[in-house]
């Protein structure tokens, strides 16, 4: 089998080419140890194409560059497919010069040839091919032009295999660029001057002092609405109610003669577990459709640019704003979207902070308590919790930035690519990859934990029982002393917080079951307004639900997941402690 390594700068249409070449015949994985996607695809089973991360060079030490370099060094690469932006050759050829050092045949794909023509850049392909001693193919990937040629060439292996004897190790970047310029001088003529590109026209509006933020917020508003109001959430709710209203009665019927514990295992354990996985899927899919659209159109880089000053205060770059905002809907897609950030440090720090944004599932808990204990100031109380989460994200971000991630500080430079119409096919492939990854990796964990929690809350050593005398209530009683200094140390509350690990809104349901009867009366005797607020602060901050934990594990591995869980527990305890005890002094 021929192994082809696909390399190129970011934003030159590498993914579009990869999709066009391999179609649905591709597999997405992860490079070991880092949150960088590994994509492989096949043409006709005889050619394997590995899509390496988009990079500008091979010598500036980022994870993406190390991965590409190691791959070229250690795998038996037969040919390098180097895609470049034809309208910006000098910078793109810098990477080509470094690829030359690996002494492999190179096929140089000049993409965006139409843009180059528009800009009045005329390239002599034959001359370029001779000068660089590589096969040159001009294409326009977004318009599908020239793709067949690339495919045919790879399948016939009819590319230049003779390697030149030049040594492409230069003494400095200066020398490399001078060499590139000397080649380009022979191959390029310019026929237009001072043209204003569509990108420049769009940027005049999109980056305008007064319009930049309204435009950005409008984009976000639509993505948020699309995800949580128009498409994603309604579909989730539909899935959820279909499970409960149609599947459950049927299964109940089928199992009418089985023993109660088996019925409960299937209905509450298995179907409940499956339910808690699949309801996330529509939300994840619709959100990623929106985010991929922003990313592929070129707008995401602008968003990062205008948000950078604010986000820098919590040690992050501008792009992190989007995962954080998404976190207000649900932390799961928030953490998953952190992958779009440039550096490993940004991705990790963002994933750690996203759960501090108060997600939708916490709202039912706030709403219940606020209506009982603060009937006159409900909105204010709920709002204060959201603000508290944001403030703590800034504080924690600042602390982590200066301790955990101090060494990893990477300079912030991002290219602002030309705008382009996102390609539907790429959008859908990317979106579906996300959904599939979530189902496969996170789904199994969420499902198994659901079943375990079902078991713990329905059994004790004597067999099946109700939650008040289950294993879970024993655990609740055991950990209860931890919560006494926070003002809400009752075993019922501890158990509710435990089941809240399933999904935070479950806290309300569990309290309904355990306290029994009229919940608002029961809560009024169990809490004071102050301890109720302390409890809400704890609900806001403590360990996120299993879906978030599973996603964290999938994206960042066990160590960071353990860290995330523990730091949030500690943070929740400390802040609730301060709130409760400071409150006691004041009131």
């Amino acid at each position: 089998m021929t192994i082809a390594a696909l390399l190129g700068n970011p934003n030159v249409g590498k993914t579009t080419l990869f999709n066009a070449l391999t179609g649905s015949n591709q597999y997405v994985g992860n490079w070991p140890g880092v949150t960088v996607e590994k994509k492989e695809g096949y043409i006709d089973k005889s050619i394997k194409i590995v899509d390496l991360p988009g990079i500008y060079a091979l010598d500036t030490y980022s994870n993406e560059e190390k991965i590409s370099k190691n791959f070229l060094l250690n795998e038996n690469v037969d040919v390098i497919i180097n895609i470049v932006d034809a309208s910006n050759l000098s910078r793109n050829l810098y990477l080509t010069m470094q690829l030359k050092q690996f002494k492999k045949p190179i096929v140089l794909i000049l993409n965006m040839i139409d843009v180059a023509e528009f800009k009045g850049i005329n390239i002599d392909f034959n001359k370029l091919s001779k000068e660089l001693n590589v096969t040159v193919i001009p294409i326009s990937a977004s318009k599908g032009k020239g793709i067949d040629k690339v495919k045919m060439l790879l399948m016939s292996s009819n590319f230049l295999k003779h390697l030149d004897d030049n040594d492409y190790h230069f003494n400095s970047e200066q020398d490399t660029y001078e060499y590139i310029e000397s080649i380009l001088k022979k191959c390029i003529t310019y026929s237009k001057k001072n043209i204003v590109t569509p990108t420049e026209k769009i940027d005049k509006i999109v980056l305008n002092k007064f319009w930049a933020y309204p435009i950005f917020l409008t984009c976000l508003y639509f993505i948020f609405k699309f995800t949580f109001s128009y498409v994603g959430q309604p579909m989730s709710d539909f899935l959820d109610s279909s499970l409960n209203d149609y599947l459950v009665p049927i299964v109940e019927n089928l199992l009418s003669s089985s023993s109660p514990w088996f019925k409960s295992l299937i209905i509450d354990g298995v179907i409940g577990g499956v339910g808690s996985v699949v309801v996330f899927l529509p939300v994840i899919l619709s959100l990623f459709l929106g985010i991929s659209f922003l990313e592929d159109s070129g707008y995401m880089a602008r968003a990062a640019f205008i948000m950078d000053k604010l986000m820098r205060k919590m040690g992050l770059s501008g792009k992190a704003f989007i995962p954080m905002i998404v976190g207000f809907g649900c932390s799961v897609p928030g953490i998953m979207s952190a992958r779009t950030l440039e550096s490993e440090k940004d991705r990790r720090l963002t994933a750690l902070l996203v759960p501090l944004m108060s997600c939708n599932a916490r709202l039912p808990v706030y709403a219940l308590f606020a209506s009982i204990f603060f009937p006159k100031n409900q909105t204010l109380v709920v709002f204060s919790l959201y603000i508290l989460g944001i403030l703590l994200a800034f504080l924690v971000g600042l602390i982590f930035k200066n301790t955990l991630f101090k060494k990893d500080e990477e300079p912030f430079v991002i290219e602002l690519p030309e705008y382009k119409m996102p390609e539907m096919r790429s959008l859908f492939i990317h979106t579906w990859d996300k959904g599939k990854g979530f189902l496969k990796k996170a789904g199994t964990i969420i499902f198994s934990i659901s079943v375990i929690v079902w078991f713990l809350s329905n059994f004790n050593f004597n067999g099946m029982t109700d939650i008040n005398s289950s294993f879970l209530s024993n655990i609740g009683r055991f950990i209860n002393p931890i919560f006494i200094p926070l003002g809400f140390g009752k075993w019922q509350n501890s158990v509710s917080l435990l089941t809240g690990l399933m999904a935070k809104e479950v806290v309300v349901g569990t309290m309904g079951v355990i306290y029994g009867g009229d919940l608002s009366q029961a809560l009024k005797t169990a809490f004071t307004p102050l301890s109720a607020y302390s409890f809400l602060v704890f609900v806001l901050l403590y360990t996120p639900c299993v879906s978030v934990i599973a996603t964290m594990k999938k994206e960042y591995g066990l160590k960071m997941t353990a860290f995330s869980i523990s730091y949030q527990l500690i943070l929740a305890w400390i802040v609730s402690f301060i709130v409760y005890n400071a409150g006691k002094l004041v009131f």
């Binding site: 910006n88 933020y213 205008i306």
Partner: protein, 74 residues
């Protein structure tokens, strides 16, 4: 003079990049080599970062980093 001293749209030629080694290396590999023509294209609405343009593409960079890019006015 440093690139931040150029007014928007005014061209200059890069003569030196100092400061953080990683950043300097990154900028050099992007083609910000000696003698390259460069100008400030835009400021972010809050005044920072800035967009600089050289070799036909735009790059967003923070002011605290950009101040290590030294230029000669054209």
């Amino acid at each position: 003079m440093c690139i931040c001293d150029l007014t928007v749209g005014k061209k200059g030629y890069i003569c030196d990049i100092q400061g953080n080694e990683l950043l300097a290396k990154r900028l050099l590999s992007l083609g910000a080599t000696y003698g390259t023509e460069v100008y400030i294209k835009n400021y972010a609405p809050l005044g920072d970062p800035i967009i600089i343009s050289f070799r036909g593409f735009d790059l967003a960079i923070r002011k605290k980093d950009a101040k290590y890019i030294f230029v000669k006015e054209a």
